[in-house]
């Protein structure tokens, strides 16, 4: 499926947000991770039964408005505005990694707006026994071994990476990372654990058993803190189970949302 791409303008044009949309049905908000916004098989599958809205994070890629979201509180309010703008009162929300943290914050702040919640390997908590590695503080070539169960596999090879000889591409990748780091620096614990008690939506947590970026132990912490949560571990997947074990992951998520 080819999504529609458009630029949403919010708050008198201060935010210019590249957004991918496809499908019809119940509204579903997808919040992407630090790698950026891409249309992938999971979104394709979700669009079969939902009106999928996948906005790019402010400051990531081509989207603008980072300077108006100084902290997480601003960001949660911004997502409220975005849903208002789209005429969506209540949505299913799916978030991956950093996007999972944002989705969880939204669901804590606005339990009334989140009907069901899917968190794929979200960050947002901290354990000293499984510190989340500093992905900006390591050689880029180390990333695949942290992110993939099989760093030499076909999925790892397909992942888009900026061309190291293309300054423009490197610049955009750096700015995308900066727009995410703004909310998780220097450690991703920004107090979410204190707020998770407010989360009312039935929640599915999906975690690759081989996730070396955000250890599956965090899945247990999320599951214990959220009133109505289920943790599903996906064998043979790292931090991107929706790509590395697409069939199983998509099955779990679409089953939970239907």
């Amino acid at each position: 499926m080819q999504p529609d791409e458009s630029v949403l303008e919010l708050r008198d044009g201060r935010f210019k947000i590249r957004t991918l949309q496809a499908g019809s049905g119940d509204p579903l908000l997808y919040v992407h991770g630090a790698g950026g916004l891409f249309w992938d098989p999971l979104l394709d599958a979700l669009a079969a039964n939902h009106r999928v809205v996948a906005p790019e994070h402010p400051g990531a890629g081509e989207s603008q408005g980072l300077e108006y979201v100084e902290d997480l509180w601003d960001l949660v309010l911004y997502y409220n505005e975005l849903l208002d703008h789209l005429g969506i009162d209540r949505a299913k929300v799916v978030g991956h990694s950093f996007g999972g943290m944002v989705a969880a914050e939204l669901a804590c702040n606005n339990p009334e707006r989140v009907e069901r919640l899917v968190l794929i390997a979200p960050i947002g908590l901290w354990r000293d026994d499984h510190p989340v590695p500093d992905i900006s503080g390591m050689p880029p070539e180390r990333l695949p071994e942290l992110v993939f169960a099989d760093p030499q596999g076909p999925v790892a090879a397909m992942l888009p990476r900026p061309d190291p000889n293309d300054p423009e591409a490197l610049f955009r990748a750096s700015m995308t990372m900066a727009s995410v780091l703004q909310f998780i620096w220097p450690l991703p614990d920004k107090g979410l654990s204190k707020r998770l008690y407010r989360l009312k939506a039935p929640t599915l947590l999906v975690w690759g058993t081989e996730d070396k970026l955000v250890h599956p132990a965090y899945g247990e912490d999320f599951a214990a803190a959220i009133a109505n949560a289920r943790l599903e571990l996906v064998e043979g997947a790292g931090h991107l189970p929706q790509l590395e074990q697409a069939e199983r992951t998509i099955g779990l998520i679409t089953g939970f949302l239907s």
């Binding site: 100084e70 503080g137 880029p140 490197l170 750096s174 700015m175 990372m177 900066a178 780091l181 703004q182």
Partner: protein
Amino acid sequence: MKSIFFHLMPYRDLPDDFEQRYESVWVTPPNQELCDPVKVTQYYQWNLDELELADQLGFDGLGVNEHHQNAYGFMASPNLMAAALARRTPNKSAILVLGNTLALYQPALRVAEEFAMLDCMTEGRLAAGFPVGTSMDVNRCYGVTPTETRPRFYEAHDLIIKAWTQPGPFAYNGRFNKLRYVNPWPLPLQKPHPPVWLAGGGSIETYEMAVNHDYTYNFLSFFGYQFAKKVMDTFWETADRLGADRNPYRAGFAQQICVAETDAQAEELYREHVMYFFKKCLHIPPYFMETPGYRTKRSTEFVLKSNTPAERAAAAMARDDWNALVDGGFVIAGSPDTVTERLIEACKSLRVGNLIALLQIGSMPHELTKQNITLFATEVMPRLRSLWQDEGWEHKWWPQGARQEAPAAAVAGE
């Protein structure tokens, strides 16, 4: 022309295989494994002795700076070093703290207080350096959010200048600094406040800030005058564009310098220590240098378009090539005549009136450092002093309480 002896205070005894075994000289070199406090106790004595010697020999200024978790400079608090120097520099050199990394201090009022103390303790000899700071110090060691680096720097600058000039107490409602009562005791001795020296690594915003606020701009790199050319040309173009004059005392630059009796002797004496510096002290992975968000969009575009001197230095290192380092201007080394000639060429081509002389380099031992400082002070410095005299510029940024000219003894060549 002002000559400033600037001390980085490096760890002089890193292991031979340091750069093979460890990730970085900065942020992560394991402290319990590598940093011996007994050695450091000795280094601090040497470092201060070397700075005090420079005062005795008639240097115009002494420079110190701030780094964190860094084996080439473990002066976590330059203010402590400046305080130690305040009472042991009878020749009244300027004390240039280049500087305090403003974004690290919360509230930044602490910098206004400590600089005011230093200005009083030195009887008005302080130059107040305000660097943005490196990504290693600001983002990685002190955990400042990269995209907040510059906003915090600008706000801290604003708060400090107001704290020094606006009658207290007053309230300050910044984004990062929220203070009901700003009323620091003491205030600086110099009025309206100590001269502000900006230290930069080539961010375009810093040039503009220096010109707009009438501060000096100091390019602190370790890659020498040839690479500084592009940066300083852009600085002067910025000055032209914003309507400032081309007073060379607006600008300073750092240069590694090794003086010996002859060119051949310079290589013999200093080669090992310079190699140590470039191989070990600049062993910093690129992913630490530029945390995403540390530079603004504008400066990132500027930097990506610039060439990287680090790559050429690294290439010279790989070949163990002293001549490449000398020819490339990374280090100015040789006999007093050679060094003088090249420094005059460098300062003229960059149009700088403040030479920040790096005379203790890497593993250079105490006795050799003293020899280098002494040869520079007696054989080179006197021949640099008159460099800008014929143009008749006034140095408006020199601390008011510092000695303004060469001391009588140094002029006599004693």
